[in-house]
């Protein structure tokens, strides 16, 4: 054993052999957990969609009736595109839900918004953020009702100037001690709404790709 260990070839073979075994283990476990993980993620997605588009508003499968657009939107991933989940009642598109991204005080704020086919907001919810606890986290529905004030807002209802926090001459409250966070959310929602309006026909009318 000692002599074998001294040979130069022993080291790469050992490292390679262990890498091979480790790789095999990873493949095995990945195959075993892929299904459950996908299920959990679908559940998460469904849960966040239900928050912005109430289940009573549609009768189709929101998760399957999707369309991906690649027009540029601030902070969005242009390669992956933006996925729109269409809500239909009796076959007619009534709303679409999609995710927009705001750049907050400590990085990305993921926001899910539901918009009616007439361009008014159904609801907006923050899915994930890393804002300061106690200050910026009032954008969560669990912490404050601030986020619910977006409901029924639309581009017609508020002018460009009004889509801002009060400090900037707009309609939305800021929080004491945190202006950057609500500013980022208002901006992202406004951009998202403008995006929806610009491509409304395409978002609502295009057939979902089957298969």
């Amino acid at each position: 054993m000692k002599e074998i260990k001294q040979k130069m070839a022993y080291h790469p073979i050992l490292l390679g052999g262990i890498a091979l075994i480790a790789g095999a283990m990873l493949v095995f476990v990945d195959a075993g957990t892929r299904g459950p993980i996908a299920d959990r993620q679908a559940e998460d997605l469904r849960a966040s969609l239900t928050q912005v588009v109430p289940a009573s508003a549609y009768d189709n499968n929101l998760l399957e009736d999707t369309i991906v657009l690649h027009y540029p939107l601030e902070y969005a991933d242009h390669v992956a595109g933006i996925t729109f989940y269409r809500a239909r009642l009796h076959g007619k598109a009534v709303a679409a839900a999609f995710e927009v991204i705001g750049m907050g005080y400590s990085g990305v704020i993921r926001i899910m918004m539901g918009v009616r086919s007439d361009g008014s907001i159904m609801a907006v919810r923050v899915i994930a953020h890393a804002e300061t606890p106690g200050l910026g986290d009032k954008i969560e529905e669990a912490k404050s009702d601030w986020i619910t004030h977006f409901a029924t807002m639309s581009l017609e209802k508020l002018t460009r100037q009004q889509w801002a926090v009060k400090k900037d001459g707009g309609e939305f409250d800021q929080f004491s001690g945190a202006t950057i966070t609500p500013r980022a959310v208002v901006r992202a929602v406004h951009k998202g709404l403008a995006y929806f309006n610009a491509h409304r026909a395409e978002i609502l009318e295009t057939e979902a790709p089957h298969g």
Partner: protein
């Protein structure tokens, strides 16, 4: 040779990863905003430590000295990824909270330290024991620190424990201070440093007190022995005439 009691005492108290070796502070400060997060992270790290120590100990005779570090890192990274995938699939809600920190267990230097300084030189039994105990010692600190920060920071203890341990543990989820506005500093990382400082001071104080007591006891025994000897001498002297 392998003294399990000593390994246990070393891992949990005398050579504690955090309180004595000052390793693994990054994950410690990052996740301990609540006791539940600390417990989850501690359990994940313990599982990784146990598995990595065991595997490395089993392979210690074929791993050559020259490539041991890459082999250790490869094994640790594999185990962490396995834990990450398994948690994501079966403890999904907890994974959402800890998700960011699980892959970082790879960079937790205490795991490589245990592999290098203990597991690679010991047989599987003691190595597994050492991994388990070092992990439990780490978990202990995580839970205590998380608990302290959670109570002071938000007035709760073990919030969302049922996400981690299942619905039957929801009794752990306590709101200790009603109508508490929260103390932001303790939730932020700087509060973690503060709490850790007090924890280290407390451990040091306990150790010093123990040493002092032992010293006093030894001294008392010595004095008693001298007294006994003197008495004996006195008796002997008394008998002489």
């Amino acid at each position: 040779m392998a003294d399990y009691r000593q390994i246990m005492r070393d891992g949990i108290w005398e050579n504690n990863v955090v309180m004595v070796q000052m390793l693994a502070l990054c994950p410690l400060l990052a996740v301990t905003s609540t006791a539940t997060n600390g417990l989850g992270m501690g359990m994940a790290t313990t599982a990784v430590l146990l598995a990595s120590n065991l595997v490395i100990s089993l392979l210690r005779n074929i791993i050559s000295n020259e490539v041991r570090i890459p082999v250790f890192i490869l094994l640790i990274a594999t185990i962490v990824t396995l834990v990450d995938l398994t948690m994501n699939a079966f403890l999904h809600d907890l994974h959402k909270v800890l998700g960011l920190f699980i892959p970082l267990i790879v960079t937790n230097c205490c795991i490589l330290a245990r592999a290098e300084s203990f597991a690679s030189k010991q047989s599987p039994g003691p190595a597994a024991m050492d991994g388990l105990m070092a992990g439990l010692g780490f978990t202990l600190v995580l839970v205590v620190l998380g608990g302290v920060r959670e109570i002071i920071g938000s007035g709760t203890l073990f919030a969302n424990a049922s996400l981690l341990l299942g619905g039957s543990f929801s009794f752990l989820d306590m709101r200790l201070l009603d109508d508490y506005r929260g103390f932001l500093l303790m939730v932020l990382p700087s509060g973690g440093f503060l709490a850790l400082g007090f924890l280290l001071a407390a451990k040091s104080w306990l150790d010093h007190r123990k040493a002092d007591l032992e010293k006093a006891a030894a001294r008392a025994a010595e004095i008693a022995a001298i007294n006994a000897m003197n008495e004996e001498n006195a008796l002997e002297d008394g008998e002489k005439p």
